[in-house]
Every structure is written in structure tokens, then in C-alpha cells.
Amino acid sequence: MIPLIGLVIGIALGIVLRIPVPPPYVKYLGIALLAALDSAIGGLRASLEQKFNDKLFITGFFGNTLMAGFIVLIGDRLGIDLYLAAVVAFGVRLFQNLALVRRYFFQRRHWE
């Protein structure tokens, strides 16, 4: 419930504030968003497994987001599309975690 409230407030803030993103930074923001989503889904999975640790979650969230942006920066400087590595890594984990969440959901249903 609380994360959902936070999400709604964040969306509302984004709509109200209308912060323009210069085209070169769209890529950075996208990667950061992907990292953040990955952390959030990971957190959801961990909480389903009852292994949720708020310190791990929060440090992971900020660490991954910043690291993702940093990797894009390095890639830009080196002239390599290094952000693809971040996209693949976060994407794979995102889907894995989603699959697990889905599995737990159906297992639970089955047991009921």
C-alpha cells in the first residue's frame, strides 16, 4: 500500500513539475529507470520470499541506479554502447524476478 501511494505521488509530481529532459540525457534517465524498476521488482520478490531487508533494498536501489548512469557515461566517453550491457543485465534480472513473483503467486493460489 505504502509503495503504491509513493508511486502515485511520484507520478503526480512528475506530471505537475514537467521537468524537461535534454535529448542527450534521455538515455541516462532510461537506464536509471530500468535499474530502479529492477530493484523494486527484486524487492517485491524478496518480500514474497520473506527475505526482505530494507537496508539491502535501499542501498541496492540507489547503488544500481547511480551505477547504471555511470556505466552509460563511461560508454559515451569510450565510444562504446556500454549502456546495452546495463540494459541486458537489468532486463534479464527484471524478467527473472517477475517470473518468480508470478510463480509464487500461482503456487499460493494453488495451495488455497
Partner: protein, 249 residues
């Protein structure tokens, strides 16, 4: 696979066991995610929205217009380049014309005597102990030099130009004087001429020439030397700037 003893599925109860602080933190993270989502969507949309909104016809129209514009700009660049080339050409021509004009001005200045002239030439001194020489004798010598290609000449330090005149004036006591313009000049007459040294010298010393004619007179002696470097002063300024109407009458 992890064995799940107890799965809380109701999303509203997911964080039940967490402390208030960590719930707030998680809410903050939710807030950040939402904010990022909206901002990113907006940024992506504004980047591609403008083109995506167009139909295929519009897009091809835009491309056609851009092509036309590109061609026009290319044509403009070509014409500007041509203009630049023409301007450069004109500058070169102008420089040539200016060079020619400067050259001409210099030779005219030498002729008009408005500048000092330096160079090789001859210098001669004519003494006249008995006052026998007339202006015509000097004119003969000067004509001889002019014919031999003298570029500039002076008589007793006065520059000779096209308007210079020599005349003889009888004095009251019977004697006379030679006048150069309005100036009285007297022997020894010193003539300087700038030009080809050899030619000028030969013109003076040739048999039956000026030297022979003058030297035969009583009391007249004639010295001529070739000079490496002579400098002739310009015509005096006062003589140059006579009022124009005084010439007409």
C-alpha cells in the same frame, strides 16, 4: 527453488512486518520510480513526438522541402564562391592597375621635377671668362643632353623642367645676363644630367658636338665628368605654384 512457507500475497499487507521508517523509505523509492517514469516518458515523447505525429505524406513533403532547401543552399554557396572568386580577381586587377599608375606617376614626377631624382649621370662645368656665352649656347647643350636621353637635368642647382625658360637680358652698362626663369645665373655654369652615363658623355664629347663648339670660344673652358650618383633637388615650390590665370595672358 526456495521453499516458501508462508507467502503473503495481498499487496496491501506486503510490508506489514516492516518498521515505520523503512516503510517511509520504501515509499520514497516508489515516489522516485514514479517520478522517473513520468519524466522519462515525457522526454522520449517530446523527442519523437514531432515526427511521429506526421503522416507519411507529410513526412515525404518535409523531406522534399528539406531537399529543395538543401539544393537552394548549395546553389547559394556556389554563387557566393563565384562572387568571392570575382572579387579576388578584381582585387588582383586593381593591384595591377595601381602598380601601373604608380609607375606612371613616378615617371611623370621625374619629368615635372616635383620630386628629387637620384642616379648615374654626367656633370659638366662651363667657365666663361669673357662673358661671351649666350643663353642659346646653353640651350644647345641642354638639347643635346635631352636628345641623348637625359631623364632629369639641372642648371646651377635649379631643376630644369618643360616650363623652364632661358633668356638673355641686356644690362644698362652694355653687359648682359642669362636668366633662368626669373633668376639671374652666371658663369661658371654647372649642368647636371641624369641618364645613361656613357650615352650622355658621348653626346657631349663627340666630334663637332657641344664640347667642340664651346671650347673653340675665347675664355670658355669645358669640363665634363661621369658621375656614379647624382641627386637633383625638385623644382622650388614657389615656382611651381604660380596662379593659373597669369599663364593665360
Amino acid at each position: 527453488m526456495v521453499k516458501i512457507a508462508q507467502v503473503r500475497l495481498n499487496p496491501f499487507e506486503l510490508l506489514k512486518g516492516q518498521s515505520r521508517v523503512s516503510q517511509l523509505q520504501i515509499a520514497l523509492i516508489g515516489l522516485i520510480i514514479g517520478f522517473l517514469l513520468v519524466t522519462q516518458f515525457r522526454g522520449q515523447q517530446s523527442a519523437s513526438h514531432a515526427l511521429r505525429a506526421q503522416t507519411d505524406e507529410d513526412l515525404s513533403e518535409i523531406i522534399r522541402n528539406l531537399n529543395v532547401e538543401t539544393n537552394a543552399l548549395r546553389a547559394e554557396a556556389a554563387s557566393l564562391e563565384l562572387q568571392l572568386f570575382k572579387a579576388r580577381q578584381a582585387a588582383v586587377d586593381a593591384r595591377t592597375v595601381l602598380g601601373d599608375a604608380t609607375e606612371r606617376l613616378r615617371s611623370l614626377e621625374v619629368l615635372a621635377g616635383s620630386t628629387a631624382v637620384g642616379g648615374g649621370g654626367i656633370e659638366m662645368t662651363i667657365t666663361d671668362g669673357d662673358h661671351l656665352l649666350r643663353e642659346s649656347d646653353l640651350v644647345d647643350v641642354l638639347h643635346e643632353l635631352r636628345a641623348a636621353g637625359a631623364e632629369a637635368m639641372s642648371l646651377n642647382g635649379y631643376r630644369l623642367v618643360a616650363s623652364s625658360g632661358l633668356r638673355y637680358e641686356k644690362g644698362r652698362s652694355g653687359g648682359g645676363a642669362i636668366l633662368l626663369g626669373s633668376r639671374r645665373i652666371s658663369a661658371p655654369y654647372e649642368i647636371k644630367a641624369i641618364g645613361d652615363r656613357e650615352t650622355l658623355y658621348q653626346a657631349i664629347v663627340m666630334p663637332g658636338g657641344a664640347r667642340d663648339a664651346l671650347s673653340s670660344l675665347e675664355g670658355v673652358s669645358f669640363y665634363v665628368t661621369k658621375e656614379e650618383h647624382l641627386v637633383l633637388a625638385p623644382v622650388a615650390a614657389a615656382e611651381e605654384t604660380r596662379p593659373a590665370d597669369s599663364l593665360g595672358r
